[in-house]
Protein backbone atom coordinates (compact mmCIF):
# COMPACT_ATOMS: atom_id res chain seq x y z
CA UNK A 1 0.00 0.00 0.00
CA UNK A 2 1.19 3.45 -0.82
CA UNK A 3 2.53 5.80 1.83
CA UNK A 4 1.26 8.79 -0.10
CA UNK A 5 -2.43 9.40 0.07
CA UNK A 6 -2.06 12.43 -2.18
CA UNK A 7 -1.75 11.69 -5.88
CA UNK A 8 1.88 12.09 -6.91
CA UNK A 9 2.96 15.45 -8.24
CA UNK A 10 4.23 15.67 -11.78
CA UNK A 11 4.92 19.39 -11.50
CA UNK A 12 8.25 20.24 -13.03
CA UNK A 13 10.21 23.43 -13.23
CA UNK A 14 12.73 23.32 -15.96
CA UNK A 15 15.06 26.17 -16.80
CA UNK A 16 12.61 28.39 -14.93
CA UNK A 17 9.66 27.15 -16.99
CA UNK A 18 6.81 25.93 -14.77
CA UNK A 19 5.10 22.88 -16.22
CA UNK A 20 2.22 20.75 -14.91
CA UNK A 21 4.13 17.67 -15.93
CA UNK A 22 7.41 16.84 -17.62
CA UNK A 23 5.95 15.48 -20.85
CA UNK A 24 6.29 17.75 -23.86
CA UNK A 25 5.81 17.27 -27.58
CA UNK A 26 8.95 17.30 -29.73
CA UNK A 27 9.60 19.98 -32.30
CA UNK A 28 8.40 19.20 -35.81
CA UNK A 29 6.01 16.49 -34.77
CA UNK A 30 3.17 18.61 -33.45
CA UNK A 31 3.07 21.51 -35.85
CA UNK A 32 2.42 24.84 -34.17
CA UNK A 33 -0.43 23.72 -31.94
CA UNK A 34 -3.73 23.94 -33.84
CA UNK A 35 -3.06 20.87 -35.97
CA UNK A 36 -3.64 18.40 -33.15
CA UNK A 37 -5.97 20.55 -31.05
CA UNK A 38 -9.08 18.57 -32.05
CA UNK A 39 -7.44 15.32 -30.93
CA UNK A 40 -5.38 16.25 -27.89
CA UNK A 41 -6.24 18.56 -25.00
CA UNK A 42 -3.38 21.02 -25.29
CA UNK A 43 -3.81 22.03 -21.66
CA UNK A 44 -2.68 18.57 -20.59
CA UNK A 45 0.76 18.88 -22.18
CA UNK A 46 3.80 19.75 -20.10
CA UNK A 47 4.90 22.08 -22.87
CA UNK A 48 4.45 22.53 -26.59
CA UNK A 49 7.61 22.76 -28.63
CA UNK A 50 6.75 24.12 -32.05
CA UNK A 51 8.31 23.27 -35.40
CA UNK A 52 11.66 24.93 -36.15
CA UNK A 53 11.43 28.62 -36.99
CA UNK A 54 14.00 30.78 -38.73
CA UNK A 55 14.05 34.45 -39.60
CA UNK A 56 12.01 34.48 -42.81
CA UNK A 57 9.53 32.00 -44.25
CA UNK A 58 11.47 28.97 -45.43
CA UNK A 59 10.46 26.45 -48.08
CA UNK A 60 12.17 23.35 -46.81
CA UNK A 61 13.16 20.46 -49.02
CA UNK A 62 11.64 18.94 -52.07
CA UNK A 63 9.41 15.87 -51.78
CA UNK A 64 9.49 12.97 -50.92
CA UNK A 65 10.26 14.15 -47.43
CA UNK A 66 9.39 11.12 -45.36
CA UNK A 67 9.67 7.35 -45.52
CA UNK A 68 8.76 4.66 -43.07
CA UNK A 69 11.47 2.15 -42.18
CA UNK A 70 11.61 -0.78 -39.77
CA UNK A 71 10.99 0.66 -36.32
CA UNK A 72 10.76 4.27 -37.31
CA UNK A 73 10.71 6.81 -40.06
CA UNK A 74 13.19 9.03 -41.83
CA UNK A 75 12.27 12.62 -42.48
CA UNK A 76 13.91 15.34 -44.48
CA UNK A 77 11.36 18.11 -44.16
CA UNK A 78 14.14 20.64 -44.21
CA UNK A 79 12.62 23.01 -41.70
CA UNK A 80 9.81 24.46 -43.78
CA UNK A 81 8.27 27.23 -41.73
CA UNK A 82 6.57 30.61 -41.71
CA UNK A 83 9.48 32.61 -40.25
CA UNK A 84 9.36 34.63 -37.04
CA UNK A 85 6.67 37.09 -38.09
CA UNK A 86 4.52 34.51 -39.79
CA UNK A 87 4.67 32.31 -36.74
CA UNK A 88 3.93 35.07 -34.26
CA UNK A 89 1.02 36.44 -36.28
CA UNK A 90 -0.54 33.17 -37.33
CA UNK A 91 -0.04 30.96 -34.33
CA UNK A 92 0.68 32.93 -31.15
CA UNK A 93 -2.90 34.25 -30.70
CA UNK A 94 -4.06 30.64 -30.76
CA UNK A 95 -1.34 29.37 -28.47
CA UNK A 96 -1.88 32.11 -25.89
CA UNK A 97 -5.34 30.65 -25.20
CA UNK A 98 -3.75 27.73 -23.37
CA UNK A 99 -1.98 27.46 -20.04
CA UNK A 100 0.69 25.30 -21.61
CA UNK A 101 4.17 26.79 -21.94
CA UNK A 102 5.24 27.36 -25.53
CA UNK A 103 8.83 26.66 -26.44
CA UNK A 104 9.97 27.84 -29.84
CA UNK A 105 12.49 25.74 -31.72
CA UNK A 106 14.75 28.12 -33.65
CA UNK A 107 17.49 27.87 -36.23
CA UNK A 108 19.44 30.07 -38.61
CA UNK A 109 21.47 29.67 -41.73
CA UNK A 110 24.46 31.23 -40.00
CA UNK A 111 25.35 32.47 -36.56
CA UNK A 112 24.08 35.98 -37.13
CA UNK A 113 20.71 34.64 -38.17
CA UNK A 114 20.50 32.39 -35.11
CA UNK A 115 21.19 35.44 -32.94
CA UNK A 116 18.68 37.55 -34.79
CA UNK A 117 15.91 34.98 -34.52
CA UNK A 118 16.53 34.53 -30.81
CA UNK A 119 16.50 38.26 -30.21
CA UNK A 120 13.21 38.67 -32.04
CA UNK A 121 11.38 36.45 -29.56
CA UNK A 122 12.44 38.45 -26.54
CA UNK A 123 9.49 40.76 -26.68
CA UNK A 124 6.93 38.32 -27.95
CA UNK A 125 4.33 37.68 -25.33
CA UNK A 126 3.63 34.06 -24.36
CA UNK A 127 6.94 32.43 -25.22
CA UNK A 128 8.32 30.34 -22.37
CA UNK A 129 11.66 29.42 -23.85
CA UNK A 130 13.80 28.81 -26.91
CA UNK A 131 15.06 25.46 -28.08
CA UNK A 132 18.14 26.06 -30.18
CA UNK A 133 18.24 23.54 -33.00
CA UNK A 134 21.90 22.89 -33.75
CA UNK A 135 21.29 19.34 -34.86
CA UNK A 136 18.97 19.21 -37.85
CA UNK A 137 20.41 16.78 -40.41
CA UNK A 138 18.19 18.08 -43.19
CA UNK A 139 19.45 21.53 -44.07
CA UNK A 140 22.64 22.48 -45.79
CA UNK A 141 23.15 25.66 -43.88
CA UNK A 142 22.98 25.76 -40.09
CA UNK A 143 21.75 22.71 -38.31
CA UNK A 144 23.93 19.73 -37.63
CA UNK A 145 27.21 21.35 -38.63
CA UNK A 146 26.96 23.40 -35.43
CA UNK A 147 25.93 20.45 -33.31
CA UNK A 148 28.83 18.21 -34.20
CA UNK A 149 31.67 20.70 -33.78
CA UNK A 150 32.47 21.60 -30.20
CA UNK A 151 33.93 25.02 -30.90
CA UNK A 152 31.14 26.04 -33.24
CA UNK A 153 28.47 24.79 -30.84
CA UNK A 154 29.98 26.56 -27.89
CA UNK A 155 30.51 29.79 -29.78
CA UNK A 156 27.00 29.80 -31.23
CA UNK A 157 25.33 29.12 -27.90
CA UNK A 158 27.38 31.85 -26.25
CA UNK A 159 26.38 34.39 -28.89
CA UNK A 160 22.71 33.53 -28.76
CA UNK A 161 22.83 33.59 -24.96
CA UNK A 162 23.78 37.27 -25.11
CA UNK A 163 20.79 38.10 -27.29
CA UNK A 164 17.96 36.51 -25.34
CA UNK A 165 16.66 36.65 -21.82
CA UNK A 166 14.44 33.63 -22.41
CA UNK A 167 15.43 30.20 -21.13
CA UNK A 168 17.78 28.78 -23.74
CA UNK A 169 17.78 25.07 -24.53
CA UNK A 170 20.29 23.89 -27.14
CA UNK A 171 19.20 20.68 -28.84
CA UNK A 172 22.15 18.37 -29.27
CA UNK A 173 23.03 16.06 -32.12
CA UNK A 174 23.17 12.35 -31.34
CA UNK A 175 25.85 11.36 -33.84
CA UNK A 176 28.89 12.33 -31.81
CA UNK A 177 31.08 9.92 -29.87
CA UNK A 178 31.10 11.89 -26.62
CA UNK A 179 27.90 13.80 -26.19
CA UNK A 180 28.93 14.74 -22.65
CA UNK A 181 31.45 17.17 -24.09
CA UNK A 182 28.73 18.95 -26.03
CA UNK A 183 26.46 18.98 -23.02
CA UNK A 184 29.15 20.57 -20.89
CA UNK A 185 30.05 23.06 -23.60
CA UNK A 186 26.41 24.09 -23.77
CA UNK A 187 26.22 24.54 -20.04
CA UNK A 188 29.39 26.57 -19.97
CA UNK A 189 28.17 28.74 -22.83
CA UNK A 190 25.13 29.69 -20.79
CA UNK A 191 22.42 27.20 -21.68
CA UNK A 192 19.63 26.82 -19.13
CA UNK A 193 18.88 23.25 -20.17
CA UNK A 194 19.70 20.92 -23.04
CA UNK A 195 17.54 18.63 -25.08
CA UNK A 196 18.46 15.51 -26.99
CA UNK A 197 18.39 13.55 -29.19
CA UNK A 198 17.59 14.92 -32.58
CA UNK A 199 17.20 12.42 -35.41
CA UNK A 200 20.06 10.17 -36.55
CA UNK A 201 21.35 10.83 -40.07
CA UNK A 202 20.09 8.00 -42.27
CA UNK A 203 19.26 7.09 -45.84
CA UNK A 204 17.12 4.77 -47.91
CA UNK A 205 17.81 3.85 -51.52
CA UNK A 206 15.12 2.43 -53.77
CA UNK A 207 16.84 -0.60 -55.25
CA UNK A 208 14.62 -0.63 -58.34
CA UNK A 209 15.35 2.95 -59.41
CA UNK A 210 18.72 3.06 -57.60
CA UNK A 211 17.82 6.53 -56.37
CA UNK A 212 17.70 7.78 -52.80
CA UNK A 213 14.05 7.75 -51.76
CA UNK A 214 14.15 11.16 -50.12
CA UNK A 215 14.60 14.17 -52.34
CA UNK A 216 17.22 15.43 -49.89
CA UNK A 217 18.93 12.01 -50.15
CA UNK A 218 19.78 11.98 -46.45
CA UNK A 219 17.25 12.40 -43.66
CA UNK A 220 16.90 11.85 -39.94
CA UNK A 221 15.81 8.59 -38.34
CA UNK A 222 13.30 8.83 -35.49
CA UNK A 223 10.98 6.49 -33.64
CA UNK A 224 11.42 3.35 -31.52
CA UNK A 225 14.48 2.27 -33.51
CA UNK A 226 16.53 5.06 -31.95
CA UNK A 227 15.21 4.80 -28.40
CA UNK A 228 18.10 2.84 -26.84
CA UNK A 229 20.62 5.10 -28.56
CA UNK A 230 18.80 8.11 -27.13
CA UNK A 231 18.71 6.65 -23.62
CA UNK A 232 22.45 6.17 -23.73
CA UNK A 233 23.09 9.71 -24.96
CA UNK A 234 20.75 11.24 -22.38
CA UNK A 235 22.39 9.23 -19.61
CA UNK A 236 25.82 10.45 -20.69
CA UNK A 237 24.74 14.04 -21.10
CA UNK A 238 22.96 14.14 -17.75
CA UNK A 239 26.08 12.94 -15.99
CA UNK A 240 28.11 15.68 -17.60
CA UNK A 241 26.03 18.69 -16.55
CA UNK A 242 24.06 20.14 -13.69
CA UNK A 243 21.49 21.93 -15.86
CA UNK A 244 18.34 19.93 -16.63
CA UNK A 245 18.15 17.59 -19.60
CA UNK A 246 15.12 16.96 -21.81
CA UNK A 247 15.16 13.41 -23.15
CA UNK A 248 13.57 12.30 -26.39
CA UNK A 249 13.82 9.65 -29.06
CA UNK A 250 11.38 6.86 -29.73
CA UNK A 251 9.01 7.35 -26.81
CA UNK A 252 5.84 5.32 -27.40
CA UNK A 253 4.87 4.38 -23.86
CA UNK A 254 5.14 5.69 -20.33
CA UNK A 255 7.86 3.10 -19.76
CA UNK A 256 9.97 4.62 -22.54
CA UNK A 257 9.61 8.05 -20.96
CA UNK A 258 10.33 6.80 -17.45
CA UNK A 259 13.52 5.19 -18.76
CA UNK A 260 14.76 8.63 -19.85
CA UNK A 261 13.91 10.14 -16.47
CA UNK A 262 15.72 7.36 -14.61
CA UNK A 263 18.69 7.96 -16.91
CA UNK A 264 18.73 11.58 -15.80
CA UNK A 265 16.23 13.54 -17.86
CA UNK A 266 14.13 16.11 -15.98
CA UNK A 267 11.57 16.15 -18.77
CA UNK A 268 10.85 14.24 -21.96
CA UNK A 269 9.36 14.91 -25.36
CA UNK A 270 7.20 12.69 -27.54
CA UNK A 271 7.90 12.95 -31.26
CA UNK A 272 7.14 10.39 -33.93
CA UNK A 273 4.61 8.61 -31.70
CA UNK A 274 2.27 11.57 -32.11
CA UNK A 275 1.79 10.39 -35.69
CA UNK A 276 1.23 6.79 -34.70
CA UNK A 277 -1.14 7.63 -31.89
CA UNK A 278 -1.97 11.23 -31.00
CA UNK A 279 -3.03 10.13 -27.52
CA UNK A 280 0.54 9.08 -26.71
CA UNK A 281 1.41 12.19 -24.69
CA UNK A 282 -1.64 11.80 -22.50
CA UNK A 283 -1.00 8.07 -22.08
CA UNK A 284 2.58 8.82 -21.08
CA UNK A 285 1.52 11.42 -18.51
CA UNK A 286 -1.07 9.09 -16.98
CA UNK A 287 1.26 6.13 -17.04
CA UNK A 288 3.98 8.12 -15.33
CA UNK A 289 1.59 9.08 -12.53
CA UNK A 290 0.61 5.42 -12.10
CA UNK A 291 4.25 4.42 -11.94
CA UNK A 292 4.95 6.98 -9.21
CA UNK A 293 2.07 5.61 -7.16
CA UNK A 294 3.22 2.04 -7.67
CA UNK A 295 6.76 2.95 -6.68
CA UNK A 296 5.73 5.09 -3.77
CA UNK A 297 7.17 8.31 -5.07
CA UNK A 298 5.54 11.56 -4.08
CA UNK A 299 7.01 13.67 -6.87
CA UNK A 300 8.32 13.02 -10.30
CA UNK A 301 11.56 14.63 -9.23
CA UNK A 302 12.40 11.47 -7.29
CA UNK A 303 12.56 9.64 -10.58
CA UNK A 304 15.07 11.96 -12.23
CA UNK A 305 18.49 10.37 -12.37
CA UNK A 306 17.44 7.59 -10.03
CA UNK A 307 19.40 4.98 -11.95
CA UNK A 308 21.07 2.35 -9.74
CA UNK A 309 24.47 1.48 -11.11
Amino acid sequence: MSKHVQPPSLVTTLAGIAMDNPVMVASGTFGYGPEYADLVDLNRLGAIVVKGICLEAWNGNNIPRMIEVRGGLINAIGLQGPGVDGFVETYMPFLRQFDTPVIVNIWGRDEAEYEEVAARFDDVDGIAGLELNISCPNVKEGGIAFGTDLTMASDLIGRVRKRTSLPLIPKLAPNVPQVGLFARAAEEAGADAISLINTLPAMVIDIETRRPVLANRVGGLSGPAIHPVAVKQVWEAAQAVSIPVIGMGGIETAADAIEFMIAGASAVAVGTANFTDPTTVVRVIDGMADYLVRHDMATVGELVGSICE
Binding site: F30, G31, L39, M66, E68, P224, F275, T279
Partner: protein, 259 residues
Protein backbone atom coordinates in the same frame (compact mmCIF):
# COMPACT_ATOMS: atom_id res chain seq x y z
CA UNK B 1 -11.80 15.30 -37.01
CA UNK B 2 -11.53 12.80 -34.19
CA UNK B 3 -9.92 9.58 -33.17
CA UNK B 4 -12.48 6.84 -33.53
CA UNK B 5 -12.32 3.18 -32.58
CA UNK B 6 -14.16 1.46 -35.37
CA UNK B 7 -15.35 -2.12 -35.41
CA UNK B 8 -15.32 -4.13 -38.58
CA UNK B 9 -18.66 -4.81 -40.24
CA UNK B 10 -17.49 -6.54 -43.38
CA UNK B 11 -14.28 -6.96 -45.29
CA UNK B 12 -14.45 -8.40 -48.75
CA UNK B 13 -12.53 -8.78 -51.94
CA UNK B 14 -14.13 -6.67 -54.66
CA UNK B 15 -11.91 -7.97 -57.42
CA UNK B 16 -8.21 -8.45 -58.09
CA UNK B 17 -6.09 -6.78 -55.41
CA UNK B 18 -8.95 -4.55 -54.24
CA UNK B 19 -10.94 -4.97 -51.05
CA UNK B 20 -13.73 -3.09 -49.41
CA UNK B 21 -13.51 -2.60 -45.68
CA UNK B 22 -16.74 -1.54 -44.01
CA UNK B 23 -16.48 -0.05 -40.53
CA UNK B 24 -18.85 1.05 -37.82
CA UNK B 25 -17.60 4.59 -37.27
CA UNK B 26 -20.61 6.74 -36.43
CA UNK B 27 -18.74 9.92 -35.63
CA UNK B 28 -16.69 9.88 -38.81
CA UNK B 29 -19.66 8.80 -40.90
CA UNK B 30 -21.76 11.59 -39.44
CA UNK B 31 -19.55 14.38 -40.66
CA UNK B 32 -17.68 13.07 -43.70
CA UNK B 33 -17.95 14.78 -47.07
CA UNK B 34 -16.74 13.34 -50.39
CA UNK B 35 -13.00 13.71 -50.93
CA UNK B 36 -12.15 13.43 -47.27
CA UNK B 37 -10.12 10.55 -45.97
CA UNK B 38 -9.37 8.55 -42.85
CA UNK B 39 -5.91 7.89 -41.44
CA UNK B 40 -5.89 4.30 -40.37
CA UNK B 41 -3.62 2.53 -37.95
CA UNK B 42 -3.05 -0.86 -39.49
CA UNK B 43 -3.40 -3.50 -36.77
CA UNK B 44 -0.57 -5.96 -36.12
CA UNK B 45 1.83 -3.94 -38.24
CA UNK B 46 4.47 -4.05 -35.50
CA UNK B 47 7.45 -1.84 -35.94
CA UNK B 48 5.37 0.50 -38.06
CA UNK B 49 5.03 4.09 -36.91
CA UNK B 50 2.88 5.57 -39.66
CA UNK B 51 -0.82 5.29 -40.33
CA UNK B 52 -2.15 4.78 -43.84
CA UNK B 53 -4.53 7.23 -45.53
CA UNK B 54 -7.63 6.04 -47.41
CA UNK B 55 -10.39 8.01 -49.09
CA UNK B 56 -13.85 7.58 -47.70
CA UNK B 57 -15.76 5.54 -50.22
CA UNK B 58 -19.12 5.52 -48.46
CA UNK B 59 -20.45 7.20 -45.32
CA UNK B 60 -23.99 6.61 -44.23
CA UNK B 61 -25.94 5.40 -41.24
CA UNK B 62 -22.99 5.30 -38.90
CA UNK B 63 -20.95 3.24 -41.30
CA UNK B 64 -18.02 4.18 -43.52
CA UNK B 65 -16.23 2.12 -46.04
CA UNK B 66 -12.92 2.29 -47.82
CA UNK B 67 -11.83 0.61 -50.99
CA UNK B 68 -8.19 -0.31 -50.99
CA UNK B 69 -5.60 -1.94 -53.11
CA UNK B 70 -2.81 -4.08 -51.68
CA UNK B 71 0.41 -2.46 -52.78
CA UNK B 72 2.88 -2.83 -49.90
CA UNK B 73 3.53 -3.84 -46.32
CA UNK B 74 0.67 -1.94 -44.75
CA UNK B 75 -2.08 -2.75 -47.19
CA UNK B 76 -0.98 -6.37 -47.24
CA UNK B 77 -1.26 -6.50 -43.45
CA UNK B 78 -4.75 -5.05 -43.80
CA UNK B 79 -5.87 -8.19 -45.57
CA UNK B 80 -5.83 -9.95 -42.19
CA UNK B 81 -8.29 -7.49 -40.64
CA UNK B 82 -11.17 -9.54 -39.35
CA UNK B 83 -14.48 -9.28 -37.60
CA UNK B 84 -12.94 -9.16 -34.15
CA UNK B 85 -10.71 -6.17 -34.85
CA UNK B 86 -11.21 -2.69 -33.54
CA UNK B 87 -9.47 -0.24 -35.81
CA UNK B 88 -8.05 3.07 -34.69
CA UNK B 89 -8.71 5.77 -37.23
CA UNK B 90 -8.49 9.52 -37.42
CA UNK B 91 -11.14 11.14 -39.56
CA UNK B 92 -12.67 12.64 -41.42
CA UNK B 93 -9.58 14.49 -42.67
CA UNK B 94 -8.87 16.96 -45.43
CA UNK B 95 -10.99 19.52 -47.20
CA UNK B 96 -13.04 17.32 -49.50
CA UNK B 97 -14.42 18.33 -52.87
CA UNK B 98 -16.07 21.77 -52.85
CA UNK B 99 -19.66 21.48 -51.78
CA UNK B 100 -20.90 23.97 -54.39
CA UNK B 101 -20.98 21.91 -57.55
CA UNK B 102 -20.71 24.71 -60.05
CA UNK B 103 -20.81 24.26 -63.83
CA UNK B 104 -23.09 22.64 -66.28
CA UNK B 105 -22.03 19.07 -66.11
CA UNK B 106 -19.70 17.16 -63.85
CA UNK B 107 -17.00 15.03 -65.41
CA UNK B 108 -15.35 12.64 -63.01
CA UNK B 109 -11.99 11.12 -63.87
CA UNK B 110 -10.74 8.18 -61.87
CA UNK B 111 -7.62 6.05 -61.91
CA UNK B 112 -7.58 2.78 -59.93
CA UNK B 113 -8.80 3.27 -56.35
CA UNK B 114 -9.43 6.92 -57.25
CA UNK B 115 -13.00 5.92 -58.03
CA UNK B 116 -13.70 5.58 -54.30
CA UNK B 117 -14.10 9.27 -53.39
CA UNK B 118 -15.67 10.01 -56.77
CA UNK B 119 -18.37 7.42 -56.18
CA UNK B 120 -19.10 9.09 -52.86
CA UNK B 121 -19.12 12.45 -54.64
CA UNK B 122 -21.49 11.26 -57.35
CA UNK B 123 -23.87 10.01 -54.68
CA UNK B 124 -24.31 13.49 -53.21
CA UNK B 125 -24.55 15.43 -56.45
CA UNK B 126 -27.88 16.66 -57.73
CA UNK B 127 -26.90 16.46 -61.35
CA UNK B 128 -25.64 13.45 -63.29
CA UNK B 129 -22.68 13.48 -65.60
CA UNK B 130 -20.01 11.25 -66.97
CA UNK B 131 -17.37 9.27 -65.15
CA UNK B 132 -14.18 8.23 -66.91
CA UNK B 133 -12.58 5.24 -65.26
CA UNK B 134 -9.11 4.17 -66.25
CA UNK B 135 -6.89 1.35 -65.13
CA UNK B 136 -4.17 -1.02 -66.19
CA UNK B 137 -6.62 -3.79 -66.97
CA UNK B 138 -10.12 -5.08 -66.27
CA UNK B 139 -9.14 -5.92 -62.68
CA UNK B 140 -8.51 -2.24 -61.93
CA UNK B 141 -11.89 -0.99 -63.08
CA UNK B 142 -14.07 -0.69 -60.01
CA UNK B 143 -17.44 0.68 -58.97
CA UNK B 144 -18.92 0.71 -62.46
CA UNK B 145 -22.23 -0.48 -61.02
CA UNK B 146 -22.24 2.34 -58.44
CA UNK B 147 -22.28 4.97 -61.13
CA UNK B 148 -24.62 3.21 -63.50
CA UNK B 149 -27.19 2.67 -60.79
CA UNK B 150 -27.05 6.39 -60.01
CA UNK B 151 -27.68 7.21 -63.64
CA UNK B 152 -24.17 8.29 -64.60
CA UNK B 153 -22.61 7.65 -67.97
CA UNK B 154 -19.53 5.46 -67.57
CA UNK B 155 -16.57 5.52 -69.94
CA UNK B 156 -13.92 2.88 -69.34
CA UNK B 157 -10.39 2.70 -70.63
CA UNK B 158 -7.70 0.15 -69.87
CA UNK B 159 -4.06 0.04 -70.82
CA UNK B 160 -4.43 -3.48 -72.15
CA UNK B 161 -7.90 -3.11 -73.61
CA UNK B 162 -9.21 -6.00 -71.51
CA UNK B 163 -12.33 -3.96 -70.82
CA UNK B 164 -13.58 -0.73 -72.36
CA UNK B 165 -11.44 1.16 -74.80
CA UNK B 166 -7.71 0.54 -74.97
CA UNK B 167 -5.65 3.56 -73.91
CA UNK B 168 -5.31 6.13 -71.20
CA UNK B 169 -8.31 7.63 -69.50
CA UNK B 170 -7.43 10.97 -71.08
CA UNK B 171 -8.14 9.47 -74.51
CA UNK B 172 -11.81 9.13 -73.61
CA UNK B 173 -11.81 12.47 -71.85
CA UNK B 174 -10.28 14.21 -74.86
CA UNK B 175 -12.92 12.76 -77.14
CA UNK B 176 -15.67 13.92 -74.83
CA UNK B 177 -14.22 17.42 -74.75
CA UNK B 178 -13.89 17.44 -78.56
CA UNK B 179 -17.47 16.24 -78.97
CA UNK B 180 -18.80 18.88 -76.60
CA UNK B 181 -16.94 22.04 -77.64
CA UNK B 182 -19.57 24.29 -76.11
CA UNK B 183 -19.88 22.47 -72.80
CA UNK B 184 -18.86 24.04 -69.52
CA UNK B 185 -17.93 20.96 -67.53
CA UNK B 186 -16.39 20.91 -64.08
CA UNK B 187 -13.82 18.18 -63.65
CA UNK B 188 -13.17 16.15 -60.53
CA UNK B 189 -10.23 13.79 -60.66
CA UNK B 190 -8.61 11.31 -58.36
CA UNK B 191 -5.83 8.95 -59.30
CA UNK B 192 -2.09 8.76 -59.88
CA UNK B 193 -0.07 11.94 -60.24
CA UNK B 194 0.48 11.47 -63.97
CA UNK B 195 -3.24 11.25 -64.59
CA UNK B 196 -3.98 14.27 -62.42
CA UNK B 197 -1.35 16.23 -64.27
CA UNK B 198 -2.83 15.33 -67.65
CA UNK B 199 -6.37 16.14 -66.54
CA UNK B 200 -5.24 19.37 -64.93
CA UNK B 201 -3.40 20.51 -68.06
CA UNK B 202 -6.43 19.93 -70.26
CA UNK B 203 -8.73 21.75 -67.89
CA UNK B 204 -6.44 24.71 -67.52
CA UNK B 205 -5.93 24.94 -71.28
CA UNK B 206 -9.68 24.85 -71.87
CA UNK B 207 -10.37 27.13 -68.89
CA UNK B 208 -12.57 24.55 -67.23
CA UNK B 209 -12.54 24.26 -63.46
CA UNK B 210 -10.90 21.04 -62.31
CA UNK B 211 -10.61 19.73 -58.78
CA UNK B 212 -7.77 17.31 -58.29
CA UNK B 213 -7.47 15.04 -55.28
CA UNK B 214 -3.78 14.51 -54.70
CA UNK B 215 -2.13 11.38 -53.34
CA UNK B 216 1.04 12.11 -51.37
CA UNK B 217 2.92 10.07 -48.80
CA UNK B 218 1.71 11.14 -45.40
CA UNK B 219 3.03 11.27 -41.88
CA UNK B 220 0.63 12.80 -39.39
CA UNK B 221 -2.37 13.29 -41.68
CA UNK B 222 -3.44 16.41 -39.74
CA UNK B 223 -1.08 19.10 -40.99
CA UNK B 224 1.64 18.91 -38.35
CA UNK B 225 4.61 17.25 -40.00
CA UNK B 226 4.83 18.86 -43.44
CA UNK B 227 5.60 15.57 -45.17
CA UNK B 228 2.73 15.54 -47.67
CA UNK B 229 3.22 18.86 -49.35
CA UNK B 230 2.32 19.95 -52.87
CA UNK B 231 3.57 23.07 -54.59
CA UNK B 232 0.63 25.47 -55.01
CA UNK B 233 0.46 28.87 -56.67
CA UNK B 234 -1.26 31.49 -54.56
CA UNK B 235 -3.54 34.25 -55.80
CA UNK B 236 -0.59 36.64 -55.89
CA UNK B 237 1.31 34.21 -58.10
CA UNK B 238 3.76 33.17 -55.41
CA UNK B 239 4.40 29.48 -54.95
CA UNK B 240 4.46 27.64 -51.67
CA UNK B 241 4.11 24.14 -50.27
CA UNK B 242 0.60 23.30 -49.11
CA UNK B 243 -0.25 20.32 -47.00
CA UNK B 244 -2.21 17.72 -48.96
CA UNK B 245 -3.62 16.30 -45.73
CA UNK B 246 -5.01 19.55 -44.36
CA UNK B 247 -5.07 22.18 -47.11
CA UNK B 248 -6.07 19.41 -49.55
CA UNK B 249 -6.25 16.67 -50.66
CA UNK B 250 -8.42 18.51 -53.19
CA UNK B 251 -6.82 21.43 -55.05
CA UNK B 252 -7.94 23.62 -57.91
CA UNK B 253 -5.95 22.43 -60.94
CA UNK B 254 -5.22 26.03 -61.86
CA UNK B 255 -3.17 26.44 -58.69
CA UNK B 256 -1.15 23.23 -58.82
CA UNK B 257 2.50 23.64 -59.75
CA UNK B 258 3.84 20.55 -61.51
CA UNK B 259 7.52 19.68 -61.31
Amino acid sequence: MQIEKATVKTHEVVGGDYRELVLNAPRTAGSAVPGQFVHLRVPRLDGSVLRRPFSIYRARDGVISILYKTVGRGTEAMVAIGGGDTLDLIGPLGNGFPAELAGETPLLVAGGYGVAPLSFLASVMDVRGTIFIGGASARDILCVGDFESMGWTVRITTDDGSVGEQGLVTLALDRWLAEHPEAKPVLYACGPDGMLHAVGQRAVAAEHTAWLSMDKHMGCGVGACLACVQRIRGEDGSESWKRVCRDGPVFDAATVVWE
